[in-house]
């Protein structure tokens, strides 16, 4: 990693040019914060495989593409192609982004008790209360990419749900990329705040309209107030050429509840890191994830569950299917600090290897500093059960059908955690197709 071309300085300069151009309203301090992030980035540089967190995740290919942020803000696209991607059920509100920018006319932001807007407009209007919350969980950035996001974030969703508001229907957050974003890096940044006793359901999806390469470098901060309740359904399904990096930061107040169902299906290289921090007792988080790594794909999940206060519980369940030259990396860390007595934390990771060229590197970790706790983790790597296959074949299914059925059965435990029926059906269909076209080798 000695000779990087373009160099760290090139990236930093590009970031600074962008900062100068951005609307800051009266929030000059935000520009300063961004410049600080750019400096932080140049100190940190990009991560490398000598760092424990990046041990199995090579970014050489990503750096070779030298993705830069794009400062052109006028791109055209056909709105009907975007509408076709909408969730097939009524939604309470909708935020649509295409190639990194908020699309007002395609969105639906009129919702009582809920602030739905784009980060760009919040920045332009200089809405201090919201802007102050930026970076409150993520900081300036623990590694180069996160710092770069803070420096060059161009737009993103801002969702604030007022105290006591209870939404029945989901809020849709749709993030699309088209050919126009090809070879650019996109730096979305979302901020989601649920005040006390609010409850909501969020469907967040990353889709590509074309098969082009780009780099999505996302940071999302989610703050749940006391007794707030968020059900978060998240799908990453970008083009097979894409690079996708997601950092989720989660802050939970007393008795807040967060449930995540996530699926990583697309992008040639993807990494999702979820940082969950409990800041008051009685909170609970449940994370369920599914990943598919087909030929040439790398899927990486990093979980960092920090039990800093007593009486919180967390449960994580991640499952992966690997085929072709697919690679999966899983790192699930549970930290229970000295004060966090009566913590309850359980993590499980299961990997199904369908091909002889696939590779899984999994590393669950428990770091326990308190004694009155119940913690466990489990991980498995295996293949389809020969007896189950034999049973299905004896019932007249072809080898291929039998294998597909068993794979779907394996995935269904996670799919069931997606509450939205239309989304669940869609995911099922995508997985079925993927299994048919590339995943199954008999």
């Amino acid at each position: 990693m000695s000779e990087l071309s373009p160099s760290i300085t090139d990236y930093k300069r590009a970031a600074e040019r962008l900062i100068d151009k951005l609307p800051v309203g009266d929030g000059l301090w935000l520009a300063d914060k961004r410049r600080a992030a750019a400096r932080r980035f140049s100190e940190l540089g990009f991560p490398n495989t000598r760092q424990e967190d990046w041990r199995y995740t090579n970014i050489k290919g990503l750096l070779e593409k030298s993705f830069f942020a794009d400062d052109d803000t006028h791109r055209s696209f056909a709105s009907h192609t975007v509408k076709r991607q909408f969730l097939g059920e009524p939604v309470a509100g909708r935020l649509v982004f295409v190639d990194g920018l908020f699309q007002h006319e395609l969105s639906d932001t009129d919702l009582e008790g809920v602030h739905l807007s784009s980060l760009n407009s919040v920045m332009a209007a200089g809405e201090q209360t919201i802007l102050k919350a930026l970076g409150s969980l993520s900081g300036v950035g623990e590694h180069g990419f996160a710092a770069l996001n803070m420096a060059t974030m161009q737009d993103g969703a801002v969702i604030r749900i007022a105290a006591g508001v209870n939404l029945e229907q989901p809020i849709e957050l749709l993030y699309l990329t088209s050919r126009a974003a090809a070879s650019f890096s996109l730096c979305p940044r979302h901020l989601i705040i649920l005040e006390e006793d609010a409850s909501a359901n969020l469907v967040e999806r990353y889709l590509s309209l074309d098969d082009d390469e780009h780099f999505t470098n996302l940071v999302c901060e989610i703050v749940l107030g006391e007794r707030a309740h968020l059900h978060h359904q998240r799908v990453e399904q970008e083009s097979p050429q894409a690079y996708h990096l997601s950092e989720l930061y989660l802050g939970l107040e007393a008795q807040a509840q967060y449930r995540l169902a996530t699926a990583s299906l697309g992008a040639g290289w993807s990494r999702t890191r979820i940082n969950s921090r409990f800041s008051a007792p009685g909170a609970n988080c449940e994370l369920d994830g599914l990943y598919l790594a087909g030929d040439g794909q790398l899927v990486d999940y990093h979980l960092d569950i920090d039990h800093a206060v007593p009486e919180c519980s967390s449960r994580e369940n991640f499952k992966g299917i690997l085929a072709g030259r697919g690679r999966a990396v899983f790192d699930g860390r549970i930290l229970v600090r000295e004060q966090a007595q009566k913590s309850d934390a359980h993590l499980s990771n299961a990997n199904l290897m369908l091909s002889r060229h696939a590779e899984v590197d999994t590393k669950p970790q428990l770091e326990i500093l308190a004694d009155d706790v119940q913690c466990s983790h489990g991980t498995t790597v295996g293949q389809l059960d020969a007896e189950a296959l034999f049973y299905l074949r004896s019932r007249g299914l072809s080898m291929e059908q039998a294998r597909r059925l068993l794979c779907l059965g394996f995935a269904s435990e996670i799919l069931e955690r997606f509450e939205s029926e239309s989304l669940r059906k869609q995911l099922c269909e995508v997985i079925r197709q993927r299994l048919e076209t590339s995943m199954i080798e008999t």
Binding site: M353, H357, K363, S376, T379, T380, V381
Partner: protein, 481 residues
Amino acid sequence: MGLPDSRMDELIQSDYVQGFVTQIESDTLPPGLNEGVVRTISERKGEPEWMLKRRLAAYRFWRTMKEPNWSSIHHPPIDYQSISYYSSPKKKAGIKSLDEVDPEILATYEKLGIPIHEQKAPAGVAVDAVFDSVSVATTFRDSLAEAGVIFCSMSEAIREHPELIRKYLGTVVSDRDNFFAALNAAVFSDGTFVYIPKGVRCPMELSTYFRINEAKTGQFERTLIVADVGSYVSYLEGCTAPMRDENQLHAAVVELVALEDAEIKYSTVQNWYPGDSEGRGGIYNFVTKRGDCRGDRSHISWTQVETGSAITWKYPSCLLRGKDSVGEFYSVAVTKGYQQADTGTKMYHYGENSRSTIVSKGISAMHGSNAYRGLVSVASGAENARNHTQCDSLLIGDRCAAHTFPYIEVRNPTAMVEHEATTSKVSEDQLFYCRQRGLSEEDAVSMIINGFCKEVFKELPMEFAAEAQKLLNVSLEGAVG
């Protein structure tokens, strides 16, 4: 759980009975490390030229290396120039029999309960006693020789069996393997060499007893066990040291080679001085242990009971290269006071149908910190490799820590790899059950802890299983309550 803190603390102060110093004249090199020291060690041991060359190469390489810092242990930096690298009890030249060994040393071992008088020894255990940097006695050599088994000190092996040493030494843990292994390769003083010839089932248990006595010294022993085709050996090592305020370094290397159909069972009961209840003193135990299942159907089993040392840093590993080879790792690690343990195993699956089992039990009490760090790696050619890992941690008291860091790397779809880990304190339910059956709280906890470790203890040779259980009870006396 019931008892007030003051009573608990009082109970915790169980004595380290092995903590005495033997007053004896010794021949100790002044502290410091340079090429001259390496040459002197080699000369004192009467080594051939090729061995000296190896030591010097290792020393030069070590100087280019940095101390590793990735583990979860913490200690002040070690000054490698303040350690003496060689210390041996003064002796008359050419000791022929046990009677000529310094009676003080014999008394030391007697006091430790180590049988080096053959007539008093329990049948079936041969002992190599290593005192500071040298082996002072090896028992039952004649009866072992009858079976063709070579059981001697490493220095002697270098002189008497150079062909075996050159063939096997450093082939499992290379002289450049890691910081401490390179240091060991440069300055190792003594240790044990075992060779079991083809088809021989070693007629007795072999064991080495390591004792650090001299102050400001480090112990760098080197052990090599070679089990030739179709042979079997069970080997046990034990270790103790005096109580001192300073930290002493113990950086050993153990290499095991199992050829076709051979089986090696390696057991460790490690009870180095753990430091006092304030965390002063104690041994830094930085050890590299690795077994090579070189032949088909070979079998290596590591069992360790780690109750001592201020810091334990070791990962007994298996290279499962042969078809159908088997690797096992059973561990109980206890940390109390300010002890830290970062231990675990690495299982590298290369051979078809290779299998491995890992059972690790960590117990942390008081300010103790215990980490399991392990790797299971399945190479692309390892068809039908199988691993099961079970790591359980038991926490006693709210100031201790338990960590689990398993790494799993799989490159073959026919592999079945499972890992499970749990962390909890002694369950109230279990305790309640035992109490209502009339057991006192102490007995109940002790019973639960022994049950927790049973899976590992049953792997130890019988006499030592009882010993280990006793050690565990003493070690945890009063830490629970």
